[in-house]
Symmetry: C2
Subunit: 160 residues, 2 copies
């Protein structure tokens, strides 16, 4: 079996969305916990060079979240609300507070591949192609790939 360890990050051809897929050696339930438990989430999200601090976090349908990623004296804050927290699916909003006008609608779901493997699907929808393409060119793949590698390591180390 070919194992995908890099995330596939693609620009949707029709709508201003980014689509990400990434396979994990983990169950859907473990990936849900990694995305909804703040004490786990802060350990893996984003590039390795940033340390995350949860400001508030209420992972239920109608809840909301905010965290701060810090490196030296630099801080980057992100926040959103949870539109839906289902069994294998999360729909939420997302804003980087450095660009507060930019809001994206994110849908993340987990497809059980069997044999203890799960495919993560993420769709991030914005209201302009320019904004979407700027995000794609920002180097975001570093944070995505480092973050997902950290998530896989938490599973491998029995921490999730």
């Amino acid at each position: 079996m070919t194992e995908i360890t890099e995330a596939t990050i693609a620009a949707d051809p029709k709508v201003p969305a980014i689509r990400i897929t990434r396979d994990f050696t983990a169950t859907p339930e473990q990936l849900m916990r990694a995305h909804t438990d703040p004490d786990l989430f802060k350990l893996w999200i984003g590039p390795d060079s940033l340390e995350n601090k949860i400001d508030y976090w209420d992972a239920r349908t109608g809840g909301s979240w905010r965290y701060i990623a810090a490196r030296g004296g630099d801080e980057f804050a992100f926040h959103g609300c949870f539109h839906e927290v289902g069994e294998n699916k999360i729909v939420q909003t997302f804003t980087w507070e450095g660009m507060p006008e930019g809001v994206s609608l994110e849908t993340i779901w987990f497809e059980d591949l069997g044999d203890g493997r799960t495919r993560l699907h993420a769709e991030s929808l914005t209201n302009s192609f320019e904004g979407r393409d700027a995000w794609l060119k920002s180097g975001m793949e570093v944070g995505v790939n480092e973050g997902y590698a950290s998530l896989q390591k938490l599973v491998d180390d029995g921490k999730i």
Copy 2:
């Protein structure tokens, strides 16, 4: 001065969004109250033929909302979360529970035109042109126009 009393409802040519504008004889503050106070909101939203009941409502950044519109034995429920509730702006998610996979990201803001008049701008972003166009063809303009006429009447009657 030409008064616009019908809403302008337009399909964005580039992205799967609907854009609505509608002028009111009201202040931005009155329109914010009409959109954030549940006891006012339920009096005007949607077509005249439906009666609205608020299930839950917490109009602040990170809050959430749900209401049910009823006509005879038929009930239509809607819910979402508030990504941002600012001074003259609301960013929220929206789902009609009859089609739970369809989630839109709505941005509503109020432009002060002076002389006690305000222009409402609304953007409703979805993740497909097909979904957006089906919504446009659903007869939604009846609910939009009847609702905004009811909102104006609440202002005219001194209830907001």
